[in-house]
Symmetry: C2
Subunit: 123 residues, 2 copies
């Protein structure tokens, strides 16, 4: 990581400072893990949905047009990453977005990215 060990010296004077502030391995892992969750279109739709309402698995499956095992699989991943939480009521499991800073940041990012990637639909 030492500036002097880089193959090429382009005369930049701030490389050392940048390296010093570079995120550590654990921080990279945490951030990329969160991003990875929403890097899948199916999970992104489910997460978006659960940001706006609480629903049971069968309803989620119907809304996103997937089988319930497939939905269950994605719900497990989202839950493992701390993005959603669940609650049982009788036979049904209700899922909703977690009330955490992590989930709020990601929700906010989704809304912003939606406007950036599809500006015409947000005019």
């Amino acid at each position: 990581m030492d500036n002097k060990k880089l193959p090429h010296d382009h005369g930049y004077h701030n490389e050392e400072e940048i390296m010093k502030n570079m995120p550590g391995e654990d921080e990279i892992a945490g951030v990329s893990e969160a991003m990875k969750q929403l890097g899948d279109p199916s999970r992104l739709r489910i997460f978006w949905l659960l940001c706006h309402c609480e629903e049971c698995v069968l309803n989620i499956a119907a809304i996103v047009n997937m089988t319930s095992p497939a939905v269950s699989h994605h719900l497990r991943l989202l839950k493992s990453s701390g993005l959603i939480v669940s609650r049982r009521e009788g036979k049904e499991m209700y899922y909703r977005t977690a009330d955490t800073e992590l989930a709020r940041v990601l929700h906010h990012t989704i809304e912003k990215l939606g406007r950036v990637t599809c500006p015409e639909q947000h005019a």
Copy 2:
């Protein structure tokens, strides 16, 4: 998508409104594509680096400790997604983050998520 066609009626009165505002397929695809790019730890590190400086491939490879073909692969993906741009100077290709709203939103998200997932390091 009609409320009445959901398997279970939980008596929610706002489902129809939610469905109406649900992101379309293209918007989901665009957002998840952007997220997917940074869902890989290697690409996340490279993107973070290029948010802070412009570098040639060999230097990037040295900094993130990867082979240049591997870095080249990720650079191509990041570039295809519009997150970074490149410039040739002599034998070297210099890469840097794109000057776009998309790249800015993602950079901002990374910084925020870093603070959320590793709060102690940002105290």
